[in-house]
Symmetry: C2
Subunit: 605 residues, 2 copies
């Protein structure tokens, strides 16, 4: 009762099913809703590239711009591919569904596992980066970043358990504020640069500890590919657009890609111009904002909108993860509990698992974005590759209008993302990508085991060809240790179940048996009393022998064991009583044709 | 099943009640059985005195001998008092029983609480000191003393769970070996001294950090009083002696006191002569043995017998604690579970609690004897004082032959031990005695609360004046969510319970209801199906409303809820199914007149 009251305070009152509805989004709102995940990665992508290159000194840092350009091209390729998916799947084309449709079950499970892993990482990375934005502005908080991260996840999860409306207002303000603020900061930075108001500080690159190898450059590229995470969000959510859905979604995706490339390249160019290098306790974006704005209000505004967009990005996963879980549960690949909505019309189990796992990641990796990044992006590119390959297959099979050039376009997308996937797996393997590379097949195996179990259960429970059995022969036994009000209540109940109910007593001490038999004449309600002897003081063994004897009478015989149990008024009083009922239940839990019934007798104090 | 097999390997097969018997002990064997606890304290008592005095420099160390003499006098006084108790209680005179007999319940509970605490400390201190004897001989083990201590307690507890016979052989060899070895070492030490074979090393007392105050001397005395622990054991075990029991017990107690004083004073004198001072990693006894025997075999023999006698002392508590628990449980002051013997005729619960608590003490205090000692002895002296006061009361009430001088003798015992009790509480309060001083009243309060609860329960369950109620009106409901073999099994069972059983279905989705109703016609066994609507998707609320409605029919109405539950073949498969049965049970656990019955359907794979 208390627990449910607590739940009401934090989670809110239950909502009736009839309230489940969706609002349709205008292009402007849709951009805000779907952009946060993709745009938020500009907060860390440039920094992660620099972090790899800086180890190889000033020569290596010169490669920052080319790598940024390569990533921008990749963004354009992926966005173009997904614009095709939107066309083909106006009902929403998540990688799991698209792959299942075109490549079959096993590839779709790989996509599903990759996405689940990535949603968890999106939450962990976004929250860690959001906390880094805050601790850059307020360095005293730096040592508390694990705590801040966990608190932040708890808040987002709680909000989602209450059921956030996908309302434009919530998303629109921070997202547009972020776009305007970053565009403003970058524009002002370029003006200062163009007008030559100041000389950038000299480069302080540490002496190189690594050589500039192809591997190093590919690793920097892989780290930067985190910029692409979230680009697929628009194609998942086509049905949320106002009509005509597909057309509007394609426009929004193109605009999103444009903004993403602009902000990402803008930050990358300026970071090089100002010779900003990664530092342990301050993010690259924070250093850049310091350079451009000094330490004033505008600096704090940049940190605040960075934090907000990252929280929104994390929040996106709290819609995506439960939705994918729902699909997987519906198809029987994960426990059914993920397929049912909770009191507040949200998929509570998915939200709890996602929040819990992300919080564990934050704790294990010390809330450090840099240590989480190597795990990130691999899953995204696995799902990109599978999704684009599915589209190729689809064009080739269906041969719709323009199939040949469309299949080429998606083919380029599939080949590019597949190649990048391999590069990421190779260059980040030892840094942590191995965890994801291991986890995806393990999850897929789990999905298959669960699917098989549900199949087995359905087969065993099926009434197909089931022959009706003769009625059950039920023997009702009351297990007694004494005769008091609680036992009398059990005897009365047993008589209601069966007029031939009998009581069974296991004798540990002949004197007590004699006293019990005396009482029985007066209060036993006429129920016959069987006394079993127990040479080893075991309550259980003689009783089980007796039950076995009854079960041996035939396959339709069932034994119902009624146990008088008193329910103390306070929890600690349970410790003061022999847990006989529990013991008997434990012993009979796996016995067939045995039913145990507690008859509670409620104590008042 | 596996658990019980494991239990058989470590604890042994159950023993029949008929095997419960006791052997009677000769004086020689009885001395071995009852001496270990008392004699073992010579392994640390001298060291604890020196440890306090050394802080006040060489001047203070001169007080070692007078303090030793005072403690020896105390031993004689206490032993003389207890020889009277033996005379008065030939059936065994533990402090709890003697106090209950003469001073009433509350004082007896104080004695009981003090003894329980002290038994735990006897185990912890003896094992810590035994491990110290081993690590003195093998310093490499010093850093593993917590582990060694816990292992040692586990071994003793396991042996006791198997049921050690109180066989003379087990105790006689180590006890006599200890007495002979220590007597030999001391004798040889005195001969070397007398013959002047060597000069003792010069005294290395560190510069004094404390002044020699009365408080310091009393503290040293208090620490040394641990030598008295275990002296009372003989009077507890009088019935185990061969006839005439009391006479033999009195002789054994006198001999025990003589040996104890001899060994304790012998070690104290020699330790002073050889200027042995406490060291962190080697015990005083070990240093003494090194001085007298060098590092040869005889040195290791002394360490080995020290370890053995200390293990025996710890073992004594494993007989005493469960026995006292049995008395307390029989009188209703602690949970009844302590009053029943286990499979192997031992009081398993007492053994487990004792071993567990002592192991926790070893872990919390880092296995360090010196840190445990301040907690020790206070409980013993509380029970000494209460026991001796009881005897005074007894003589004054009964006026048996010689009552006036006997009451004086016990009066001196009571006054002396009472005074020492206050001294111990005062001087060791901040070092840890406060824990015991706090714990004893808390335990006594717990005893009283438990006693009251059992009284309340007995009153509520009593059939005294109970009017027979009319027969129960039982309504049998089967809660169904689908129709499959498991549900059919539950329906068949429900029909055996009541011909008017009905099924209840909570509708979450009207389509499913329609499909269920179609199936029901074919497989529903003619059981009527009630469909309840649920606007908030809650399974529970509409169902509970329905149940409440049935209960409102009258005070004799009972609702039996049959829940079909399938039992998966493997534990992890439980996670794949909604735990509806558990949920319903949780919601109805505290409801009166509601009985929940699971009907298991066993899955094969």
């Amino acid at each position: 009762m208390k627990l449910s009251a607590l739940k009401k305070v934090f989670v809110g009152r239950p909502l009736p099913t009839a309230q489940a509805r969706h609002e349709r989004l205008s292009k402007r709102t849709a951009l805000a809703v779907f952009a946060s995940d993709a745009l938020s990665s500009v907060a860390y992508a440039t920094e992660e590239i620099l972090l790899i290159l800086v180890g190889a000194g000033a020569v290596a840092l010169a490669y920052t711009i080319p790598i940024g350009i390569a990533i921008s091209i990749l963004i354009v390729v992926v966005a173009s591919s997904y614009r095709q998916t939107i066309l083909a799947y106006p009902q929403g084309g998540g990688a799991y569904i698209v792959t299942k449709d075109n490549l079959g079950t096993l590839p779709s499970l790989v996509a599903g596992a990759a996405l689940l892993v990535d949603y968890v990482l999106t939450v962990a990375v976004s929250v860690a980066a959001g906390v880094a934005a805050v601790t850059s502005a307020f360095p005293v908080l730096f040592n508390h970043r694990v705590l801040l991260g966990v608190l932040c996840i708890t808040l987002i999860a709680t909000a989602n358990l209450r059921g956030i409306r996908e309302s434009g207002a919530l998303f629109a303000l921070p997202t547009y504020l972020f776009i305007v603020s970053f565009a403003g900061m970058l524009g002002y930075g370029y003006i200062r640069w163009a007008l030559g108001w100041e000389m950038p500080p000299p480069e302080h690159a540490a002496t190189a500890t690594h050589a500039v190898t192809v591997f190093l450059l590919l690793r920097a590229f892989s780290q930067g590919c985190t910029a692409l995470t979230g680009v697929e969000a628009v194609s998942d959510g086509v049905p949320a657009f106002k009509p005509s859905e597909a057309r509007n979604a394609r426009i929004v995706l193109a605009v999103l890609a444009l903004i993403l490339v602009t902000l990402f390249m803008g930050i990358t160019f300026l970071a090089r111009h100002y010779h900003v290098l990664p530092a342990a306790e301050e993010t690259v974006v924070s250093q850049l904002a310091h350079q451009i704005f000094g330490g004033g209000l505008l600096y704090y505004e940049i940190q605040a909108v960075t934090m907000m967009i990252l929280v929104l990005a994390a929040n996106t996963s709290f819609a995506d993860f439960p939705r994918l879980s729902y699909f997987l549960a519906r198809d029987g690949f994960i426990p059914r509990q993920f397929g049912t909505r909770g009191d507040r019309l949200v998929f509570s189990n998915g939200i709890l698992i996602l929040g819990g796992t992300a919080a564990v990641l934050i704790i294990v990796f010390g809330g450090d974005t840099h240590r989480l990044i190597p795990l990130y992006a691999l899953g995204v590119f696995v799902s990109f590759t599978l999704s684009q390959s599915s589209m190729v297959r689809r064009w080739l099979t269906r041969r719709d209008e323009g199939w040949w050039w469309r299949s080429w376009l998606n083919g380029i997308g599939a080949a590019t993302t597949g190649l990048v996937m391999l590069v990421i797996a190779w260059t980040k393997f030892l840094d942590g990508a191995w965890i994801v590379a291991l986890l995806i097949p393990v999850l897929v195996m789990g999905f298959l085991v669960i699917r098989r179990h549900y199949g087995d259960v359905a087969r065993q429970l099926s009434l197909e060809g089931y022959a009706l059995l003769p009625p059950v022969q039920n023997t009702v036994l009351v297990l007694v240790g004494d005769l008091h009000k609680g036992v009398v209540a059990a005897l009365r109940y047993a008589q209601a179940l069966s007029p031939s109910a009998r009581a069974v007593y296991v004798e540990l001490d002949p004197d007590r048996t004699r006293r019990l038999e005396e009482k029985w004449g007066k209060w036993g309600l006429g129920v016959p009393l069987a006394v079993l002897t127990s040479p080893y003081r075991s309550l259980l063994t003689p009783f089980l022998d007796y039950v076995n004897h009854l079960l041996a009478l035939g396959p339709n015989h069932v034994v119902t064991i009624v146990i008088p149990e008193f329910v103390p008024a306070r929890w600690w009083q349970h410790l003061l009583h022999n847990q006989t009922a529990l013991l008997i239940k434990g012993a009979l839990l796996f016995r067939k044709r045995v039913v145990v019934v507690d008859v509670p007798f409620h104590l008042e104090e």
